[in-house]
């Protein structure tokens, strides 16, 4: 995490995940600053569910997230580009199956 600028409040950053409906997964929607988990949850409610977007909220300290290094994207992600056989596009789907 980078140091906040002097003008910003020195409170931790949190990532917010909202589940819109039952049966769906929580989806990352953004981040916010809050002093602790309880206030982060309230802030998430106030910032990200104003228009009925959610039924459930997760907040996670941004510092708890381990992210891949953008500089390693060649090693990490490019090798899959040549593995077209991993896409299920080489099968004949009988018409009776309909839309998959």
């Amino acid at each position: 995490m980078t140091e906040p600028a002097a003008s910003e409040p020195k409170v931790p950053l949190w990532e917010v995940f909202i589940r819109a409906r039952n049966g769906l997964a929580h989806k990352h929607v953004g981040s916010l600053h809050a002093a602790d988990a309880t206030l982060a949850l309230q802030a998430a409610r106030d910032l990200y569910t104003r228009r009925g977007e959610g039924l459930s909220i997760w907040v996670v300290p941004s510092a708890a997230i381990t992210a891949s290094d953008p500089a390693e994207k060649g090693m990490m992600f490019e090798p899959t580009a040549s593995k077209v056989y991993r896409h299920p596009t080489f099968y004949e789907i009988p018409d009776e199956v309909g839309h998959m």
């Binding site: 916010l32 309230q42 106030d46």
Partner: protein
Amino acid sequence: MTSIRLAETPLLTYVLRRADDALVLGHRLSEWCGKAPLMEEEMALANMGLDLIGQARALYTYAGEVEAKGHDEDALAYLRDERAYRNLLLVEQPNGDFALTMVRQLLYAAFADPYWRAMMASRDATLAAIAAKAEKETAYHLRHSAEWVVRLGDGTAESHARIVRALEKLWPFTGELFETDDVEREMIAAGIAVDPAALRDTWRGTVSAVLARATLTMPEDGWMQSGGRGGRHSEHLGHLLAELQSMQRTIPGATW
């Protein structure tokens, strides 16, 4: 634009009192726009303000129906003078610092939440429906303000001192929450309203639990301010209404 005058029946007065509480407190919260200590809190204050203004709109609309003289929500909000406003003195007190705003919200919401919950059983179907919506909103206002009072009270020496100052300043306005007069008694007897005095123990229990978590002591009940329900306000309401009403008074019926 001249002010409107209302022939107040007990039911009309009763509804206006609750509408004025919600509008005045909602307007106070709207004054934080652009000034809140955190962007997150900016949104929280605006959300709470909008909840309250929504409650006020429903109550004013109903008051207009009760009066049946063609006054809509805007006429009732914008065209009544200070002395015709019936809100609690607590809700018109200026925002002060963030601590004072949160203490004011806590003291009001700790009362309004059980009040609206009890009002869901009102014999007046419109008020019961308004209560059902207001109760959910107010429950969140209570939770949010309580969490901040705990953190500020149990925070730094500076935040603790500010919360103590806010409590001392606002405590004399809490007696009015539980007042009853002839209007309230008539509504209570008719099963339309609930007796606010019956909520005093609930309120004290809620507030004292929050203050204990916040490492604060409950102030002693001393002399209590009174008058808002009868239109006798502190010097602050006139200034608030001047800002709230100036547009409609200058350009009557202006819309956008």
